[in-house]
Symmetry: C2
Subunit: 230 residues, 2 copies
């Protein structure tokens, strides 16, 4: 983590979406002894593609390769430059302010969102943080810098992309019911969807393969399981 290995003034932040218990969640880190919460992020190595840097960071936090990833905005206001916060984080982690002085400089941050299958992940804190945990998108702790803005814009972009990109594929397990898929859409949009219209629309896309029924011992008709495979 030496200055000469990394590009200066440029960072990235990731909004990692997962879906569990009917709610949309994201990963948030908490720094040692500071009460500071932040998005997972990192820096770009001098010989590394920006996109690869983000994948490297996500691999460290989630253990996953091949994550669905979209870049959505680059945040570059001067108002996001608050060196005293970074200084507190470094001091609380017992890091040398001299060696890591470059972290106190201003950073422009390229923001990405990722979609992952909640159940496949065991979130890992990094050296500076106590925890890396899921938070309900409606109940986030206060975040440092402009990270609340980043989350808001990530969610807005996800909503805008909902019709154009196959969002459900990445947030659900390989097999799921139509109702599972509908709940993902409802969590992202923040509103209820009409069941029959949703079902008709999803089936008309011809991207779902129907499998066996799912018997859960409930007192009603068992739903079919679907997958996105061909």
């Amino acid at each position: 983590m030496d200055q000469k290995d990394f590009l200066t003034n440029i960072a990235f932040d990731s909004v990692v979406f997962g879906f569990s218990g009917g709610a949309l969640k994201i990963l948030i880190m908490e720094y040692h002894n500071t009460g500071f919460f932040a998005l997972p992020g990192g820096f770009v190595q001098r010989n590394e593609n920006l996109n690869d840097a983000v994948r490297r960071g996500l691999k460290e936090r989630t253990g996953l390769d091949n994550i669905y990833l979209e870049q959505f905005y680059t945040f570059g206001d001067t108002a996001r430059y608050k060196p005293e916060i970074m200084q507190t984080i470094l001091e609380s982690g017992n890091y040398s302010l001299e060696k890591y002085e470059w972290l106190l400089d201003r950073f422009i941050s390229v923001a990405y969102y990722a979609l992952i299958n909640y159940k496949e992940v065991v979130p890992q804190p990094d050296a500076l943080s106590d925890s890396c945990e899921w938070y309900d998108i409606d109940a986030l702790p206060p975040l440092i810098f402009d990270h609340a803005d980043i989350v808001a814009k990530a969610l807005q972009t996800l909503r805008d992309n909902l019709d154009r990109k196959l969002v459900g594929m990445n947030l659900l397990p390989a097999r799921f019911t139509m109702n599972d898929l509908q709940k993902v859409y409802e969590a992202i949009l923040g509103e209820k969807i009409r069941r029959t219209t949703f079902q008709r629309k999803m089936l008309s896309l011809e991207i779902l393969k129907r499998h066996e029924k799912q018997y859960l011992g409930k007192a009603h008709k068992a739903p079919y399981l679907y997958s996105f495979e061909d």
Copy 2:
């Protein structure tokens, strides 16, 4: 233009769209004595918002304030790092390689597109360039670095945004005919649109104000002029 005034490793590029003669055009710069063509761009001052830096750059190139601007992607592949090209540009412009050594470093570039009224602009070259001129989007010269990719992505984003944002407003003069507006849409989409459907759709949006007719001395019915004002 001293290193200490600017953030390092980060730049911006602008795809400036204009509309003239029924075709979509963008601004391209040509560097002194090099045969190199590139998008207008620049660097971010240490105390300056990223968005403001882009507006500053556009003001220098076009003379305009209050330009319609959208950030659309940040390009950060290592493959775009070609210091020999920048060195040639500096040498051809008789700039000191020592003083401007920082320009030979790797840059991650935040890309924006702008929409402007073609007739309001007299493009201005900068100190390093011979010209800053309009080129038809279908007939661009070969561009340095990954600037051709940037243009392609700008155009794709513009198409995707066509229904959601008021594109025509920014590419046309204050008053225009329905046919003018349709030609803008056709130039962006790269395909013909059905006249009656387009007219019905535009009018149903209730964002157009109808004004007097435009008599051009042609042997047919004179069209109404419209504006986006309220």
